[in-house]
Symmetry: C2
Subunit: 336 residues, 2 copies
DNA sequence: CCCTTTCAACTAAACGTTTAGCTAAACGTT
DNA sequence: AACGTTTAGCTAAACGTTTAGTTGAAAGGG
């Protein structure tokens, strides 16, 4: 390995001078500067980031923690994070939690050990997230995207899930549906979508039948079972609103399996707009949750926080606007 | 930040003793060991990996370079890599190249700067890859997965793409198709699939018509245009074999758009078996290219290479077996 | 011509570890 | 009792940087 020492020797200058040239942060005469630059080239010297990190307490590493990587929603978000990280000369340490708070906590710990400069957390939304507490107490710059603990609001980039619920539900109501079921989970994003759903129903005077709130926690198998149960009881709503596209997929699959036509017999609207909903068996009507944009903005605010350093700064939470994406899984309610 | 010094002071021992306790690599009397452990707990000390890396020249960081992250093939591979990395206490630095050799080279350089211990490269297959050369010359342990430069064979985990071509084509021939088109690109994986395709045709005495090799380089738009051209010339094969699922998707979409039925009028088989092919508009029949397994095995061999350290060792290339996945995009050729 | 100021370039300490090599206590042998 | 051997635990150097503080030559002022 060629070190700064070798360069210094070759250029017949001191280590400090080489450092000054590399970092361009002190005046160095043209003559020496040139000698140093030549030496660097000839030796193919590249500064050792590990040593530099040790001295500077800055690794230029950003930790990114996502729930899953096989659900296309997250890769899209990751892409957003990566694009801005790359532009700012950060590298990403990426890992997944499978939505397990303990794993998440351990990962945050591990990242701290690696000396990451900041972290983009796209995962848990527990009432009081241990991970977030840890980050706070260790004073590690962080921004939460997609989800956040209920109490937490600073430095986060979220989708306005309440509005997602409203938009989807209102769309269904506009299509004259009057018996709509909600398929969701426990997480904040889902709870908010549920609130938006209920509110839109109330606002338009649409009744919410008894067993129309179905909690499946993003588990496709559960969705399948729950909808199947409805089918077997012969108690079907005319439309479903799912709090995620993957749950909408699962819903459509049971319906199709059991001989219903989507959207002719039953409409289904999702939310998220993952890349694949466009090409799903039935192209999915859904509400776009801006995964890429959350990643992009999330990383951007992280980096601006990182740059202000001591400013101890607060950036107001972003709440992104969802938007309706009409495709083919919904249609006007049939007569009778 | 609490350092090893603080622990040493608190436990009234030397730094060296604390280090010995942490690393458990020297005998320390039970008494001192306990004192040290208590101090560590009370101070919540965690060793600084950056410092450790500097001394040890080992970061416990693995670089992973993939082409894209929004194509579900790669996340699946990543998942394989991550699962074994996690188990072995490595963290992953992940980035994407968009299939640009220059970007890839720069990324490899960057990762070297970060001191990664090894890299899993899942990307380019140039005749002579600068990136691979760089890794070789810097003596960084690396394994190539999914693709490799033509000349390169060591330490790689590849899918047997020739066989992919054979399997897909033979399946189509078994369905009595006698005019089959191939949709592919320039990359080795595609070239091998093409060879397998041609060989299977020859072996079964099926004629290959003139304009039946369509090069689209994984670009959905190009696929669309090329197939469209065929349609407009009214010169249609009875089946398509695409060298990737995404190209198969694009093919199916034009066909559907132009009023063909898949598979009733025309059969399409893909290759890769990305997660979504199962739920595509027409559930895609395809040949599984074992993305997860390549990632898993790739990382596993990387880590075993890392552990042997000085052994300068060579691990024979893995060539994974592809397997046919029958779904709904192919059927027996219609009479006439 | 001497004294002060300026500043390019240098020396050395520091970042938080690991580890080679040393010290001295404890023990066994004769 | 004297000596050698063993070894628990220590000291200090090293990893490759950055940077505070120092040096000394040149420039400027009186």
């Amino acid at each position: 390995m060629v070190t700064i020492k070798d360069v210094a020797k070759k250029a017949s200058v001191s280590i400090a001078t080489v450092s000054a040239v590399i970092n361009n942060n002190k005046f160095v005469s043209d003559e020496l500067k040139e000698r140093v630059e030549i030496a660097i080239k000839e030796l193919k010297y590249r500064p050792n980031k590990v040593a530099r990190s040790l001295k500077n307490k800055k690794t230029n590493l950003i930790g990114v923690i996502v729930t899953e990587i096989t659900n296309p929603f997250y890769p899209l978000m990751l892409k957003g994070v990566e694009d801005v990280a790359k532009k700012n000369n950060y590298q990403l340490i990426v890992c997944t939690t499978d939505d397990d708070p303990q794993k998440e906590y351990d990962l945050v710990q591990s990242m701290l050990d690696y000396g990451i400069d900041g972290v983009v957390l796209a995962t848990i939304d527990d009432k009081e997230s241990k991970s977030v507490q840890l980050l706070e107490q260790e004073e590690i710059v962080h921004v939460l995207i997609n989800r956040s603990p209920e109490v937490y609001s600073d430095n986060s980039v979220l989708i306005d899930s309440y509005k997602v619920g409203e938009i989807a539900t209102t769309y269904l109501i506009d299509l004259e549906h009057d018996d709509i079921a909600f398929i969701g989970g426990d997480r904040l994003n889902s709870r908010e979508r549920e609130k938006g759903f209920k509110n839109a129903l109330a606002k338009h005077g649409v009744e919410l039948k008894d067993n129309r709130i179905i909690k499946c926690n993003y588990d496709a198998e559960k969705v399948y079972q729950n909808v199947l149960q409805l089918i077997e009881q012969d108690d079907m709503p005319t439309a479903f609103f799912a709090a995620s596209d993957t749950m909408a997929f699962a819903t459509i699959k049971v319906l199709l399996d059991k001989g219903f036509r989507v959207p002719q017999d039953i409409s289904v609207i999702g939310s998220d707009n993952i890349s694949f909903s466009e090409d799903f068996l039935i192209p999915l009507t859904t509400v776009d949750a801006q995964a890429y944009e959350m990643g992009r903005l999330g990383c951007e605010t992280l980096i601006s926080l990182l740059n202000e350093s001591e400013n101890n700064s607060y950036i107001k939470p972003y709440l992104l606007e969802p938007s309706l994406v009409v495709r083919k899984s919904c249609q006007k309610k049939m007569e009778g």
